[in-house]
Structures are given as C-alpha cells and as structure tokens.
Symmetry: none
Subunit: 315 residues, 2 copies
C-alpha cells in the first residue's frame, strides 16, 4: 500500500492495469487497495471510460515516506548526470544539493548516496548550449499553471522575435531542452529550443489547455514538415539493425517493410544534420532515396565524393 501511494504520488494519472503491473498484483487487488486508501480518507478518484484512470487528489498531507534504495540511487545518479551539462551553473547546485540530501536520508541509505556522489562524475560535453535554470523554472511554472508566457526567441532563420505562447510541456532529449507550446498567433503547435529563449516573462493570463501528447508529438515533429529538410530512405537492413545504430547518434522514425528492409525518415533544420544521420545508417546496407530536398542531396553527394576521394589512398 505504501508503494501504491508513492506510485500515485509520482504521476498524475494511472490506469488500473499499469498500477497492477508495477506492483506485481492483479487489477482486482489494486481496486481493493484503492478502496482501502479511500477508506483512510485519501482522495483517490477513479474515472471510468476510455480515458479513465486513478488520480490522487491533493490537499491532504501524506505520511512521511522514506526513499527506498532504488530511489536514493536515482537521486544520486540524476544529480551527477545533471551536473554534466545542459543547464548552466548546474554542477555546483547539484553537488551541494546532493550533500544536503545526504544529511536528511535514513542512515542506511547515506553511504549509498555518498558513494555514488563521490565516485561518479559526469563529463561535460563540449558545445552543448547552456540553458538558464531560471528560465526553465519559470517556463515549468507557466506550464503547470497554464499561464501564457512571452519570451524572445533567437531562431535560426528569422532572427530574434518576441513570442507569446501557451506553454504545455518541457521536454528533454539528449541534453537539450525543448518547450512544447501552442502559438495562438500562428494557430499551431511549436517547439522551441530553450537555449534559444531569453527574457522570459509570464503574462499572468491563464489559458485553457489543449490536449496533445507531448513526447510523441516532439518525435513526430522531428520528422514532420516543420523542419525544412527531410530525407526518406529505403534501407536493405532489418529494422532492428537500424534502430540499434540509433543509439546515441541518430534520431528518426523507422518502419519495417520486410525482415530485411525498412523505411527510415529523418528531418532536421539543416542539411548538415541530416548528413550525419544518413551516414550513420548508410553503411548497414545498400539503400535508395525516396525523398530529399535538393540542398540536402547536393550536400550529401558532395560530401560523399569528398569521403571517397580522401580515403581512397588508405584502402
């Protein structure tokens, strides 16, 4: 039951099936446990229907739960990782937070946290743009409170423009932070890189949130027409092989066509970024190009020639 409580705290909405899965019990038992929590005056609401689920209301103070081993390790690893990059000034903040957390934890967990904190270190990545933590905090608050927010956005093409949007979610993908927001002026969803955002100021106006699935939309948008340059390939390699080369390097969408071939879609806002992605899977097998912008094709053919010529002598 304590685990159920902590699960309910950790996410806004859970389905009975998910809870049963996480807790390793059947859904019937989950229902019974929820019932018990309700009998103890915990405000657990359940909504029926396709979009149903369980939700823990707020307002009531919960018993002081303790972190378990995995959570302590998660905290330590998270803070160490956060120190590594992406957000400016994070290294000191995370390390001091780690030290303070260590004091508060039950004695059993203290060595765990201390060990990870002292033994682990994140190597900062050169070239990753730094994000202002205060900007992130303000944007997060506006997301949560459904407040319209205004900021300057330094786009690649149109220079700096003042935006006024309905922020919905912050997303992070490989050290970069993105803001998913609805732009009423353009009447469409937009994704902003937080490191290109400055002068954030909440407008103190509320908006009614629109429904959209955050992560999948961001992934979609990476391959959608939002970015100017798109490439679609048919590769003579299994989708598993292609996906496994994605590890840490490539992002795109893979659709298997047959056991030994698949279709891959990339999109980016510059041909140079596409080049890297295409090259990463070009060696897997022969492939054909289904779609590409002229600039991208020109860049890739030119680079392909350069590669061939430059390395020909070393064969």
């Amino acid at each position: 039951m304590l685990r159920l409580l902590s699960l309910l705290q950790s996410r806004r909405e859970w389905s009975g099936h998910e809870l049963a899965d996480r807790l390793g019990v059947t859904e019937r038992t989950v229902r019974r446990d929820v019932e018990r929590l309700r009998s103890l005056d915990y405000p657990v609401t359940g909504t029926t229907g396709t979009a149903g689920g369980y939700r823990l209301g707020s307002g009531t103070h919960l018993p002081p739960l303790q972190l378990d081993d995995d959570e302590a390790i998660a905290v330590a690893l998270g803070l160490v990782g956060a120190a590594g990059g992406g957000v400016s000034g994070m290294a000191e903040s995370s390390m001091s937070a780690l030290a303070k957390l260590e004091q508060v934890l039950p004695a059993r967990l203290r060595p765990q946290l201390a060990a990870v904190g002292s033994a682990a270190e994140a190597i900062p990545r050169p070239g990753v743009p730094q994000v202002d933590p205060d900007a992130l905090a303000v944007l997060a608050r506006c997301c949560r409170n459904h407040e319209i927010v205004a900021f300057d956005y330094h786009g690649r093409q149109r220079g700096t423009t003042r935006r006024r949007v309905e922020p919905h979610q912050l997303l992070t993908l490989s050290w970069r932070w993105y803001l998913l927001a609805f732009d009423p002026g353009r009447d469409d969803w937009r994704i902003f890189r937080v490191d290109r955002i400055t002068s954030v100021s909440p407008a103190l106006h509320r908006f009614t949130p629109r429904v959209l699935d955050g992560p999948s939309y961001l992934l979609e948008s990476f391959v959608s027409a939002q970015y100017e340059h798109t490439v679609v390939l048919t590769v003579e390699a299994s989708s598993v092989d292609v996906t496994s080369t994605f590890e840490g390097v490539v992002r795109g969408i893979v659709e298997p066509l047959s056991p030994s071939s698949c279709k891959v879609r990339f999109s980016a806002d510059s041909p140079a970024m596409l080049l890297t992605q295409v090259a990463a899977i070009a060696h897997l097998g022969s492939f054909t190009v289904d779609q590409a912008t002229p600039e991208t094709a020109a860049l890739i053919t030119q680079t392909g020639e350069r590669l061939t010529q430059a390395f020909a002598g070393f064969r």
Copy 2:
C-alpha cells in the same frame, strides 16, 4: 500501522502498554509493528527501564532539508533527466523520489519542484544500453572504499572474461556509464562500459589508490590506441567550427593548426562508429586524411560511393 504512526507522531513518548491499549492489540503486536516501522527506516527509538518508552525520532516533521532555489531546480531537472534513459528502472524510481522529496521540502520550494516535475519530461532514447542500478551502486561503493571488485565483462572482441580490478571512478558521458579502473593483471588502466558488466562482486580486499585524473583520461582514451580504429584528419575549417559541430554527436580531439584549419583525431572500436564522426565534419570543408586503418578507409570509401550514387538523382 498507519494509526500507530500517527499516534507516535502525536505525542513525544509512549509506553508499549499505552499503544497496545489505544490500538486494541497486545503489546507483542505493538513491538512487532514498531519493528516493521523500523524496517521501513522510520526512526522509532525504544528505551528500556522504568522511564522507558517509544519515541519517534526526527524525520516525522519536515527534516532540515534547506535547499535553495537553484538546488531544488537541480534536483528536479536531474531526476527528470535521469528518468530519460541509461539506467534501467530509473523512470519510476526518479519520479517517485521526486514526489517524496516534494513532501520534505520547505513550503516555499515545493511549487518549484512540483512544477518542474509535472511540466518536464524526458524522452527516452531508443537503443541506449541499459545499466543495472545495483551494479552502479556496488561499483560506486567499491570506488569509494578502495575495494577490489570482480565482474564479468562482455567485450566486443574477446567475448566474456572475468576481470578483477581496482575501481577508481564512474564516469558518464552521453547516457553511457563507464568504469575507470586499474587492472593489476594487465598492469594498466582500463575503461569498462558498465552496461557490459555483469555479476559484480566486491572482493573485500582494499587497495591503495593510484593517482589519475578521471575525465581527461577517459577523453584521452577515446582517441588513444586502446581502440583499434583511429582516424586523423586535417580539415580546412576553423577549430571553432569543428568543435561546434561536436555538439551532441561527435567526440574527438581538435588541434588548431591555423585560423582556418585544424587537425582532428577520432578513435572507436568499430569503423562504423568512425564513419559517423568523420561524416559529421566532412561537409565543413575540404580535408585530407593523415591516418586511417584499412578497414575504416574501405568502409568510408564504400559508403561515400553509396551516398553519392543514391543522392545523385535528387540534386
């Protein structure tokens, strides 16, 4: 048990008899329940003797976790980021840890943490190898205590081998975790990918730590001869341009030669990995190859031809 906990919170000291009376159970049961609370890390102290009794230690009220704003944001961002990948089972652990920490923070910071926790989300990267958090914890403890540790390592070339090393530091770079250790059998430093490590068991033997700078060694080793395949290029582009394309994709070492040219060194344990790196900077300007293994050159020339041919029709 929840009633027992709330009773213990409501008064400083209780005798076992009183608690049994209030709860309508026997004293034996009270002792058992107290035992259970202790196993959940609730600091219940019991003193024997005439003036004895049970007392709930600190932790019942808000612990003195006085984080400042930046630290609170660091915790939230770190945990959200950690949920995104690299360590298996991390998503649930970090989210529940975030929820629990929220309960513990001073009221002023609670909205901050909640906002970031609810608004931010990490998009898991497909294909990133998962690391066992317990393995990380054990390795971290051994690093801290200077204990020799043994494990099975599933290397790329030599299959699985049992190693027995002096662990020094855990390093993380772009979602991967590495163990920097000294291998007495080989009398040299080694870097192990933690996701390839299984069956970790501390040997309970101490060693005297050797001096070495962790992060820089790891970076060095990426371009050193430890990896079989190395490429050295001279690029007609400024070192600034080259470094800025490194962002998130490329790792290597850049030495400026002149304002408009520089030398770049890559190393990896497979030619395919080098291909991506080389392609990422090949479009910046013309370049010459100073060094490359035959396999690498063959792969790159072949891929270059493929790229040129496949994209020629889209120019």
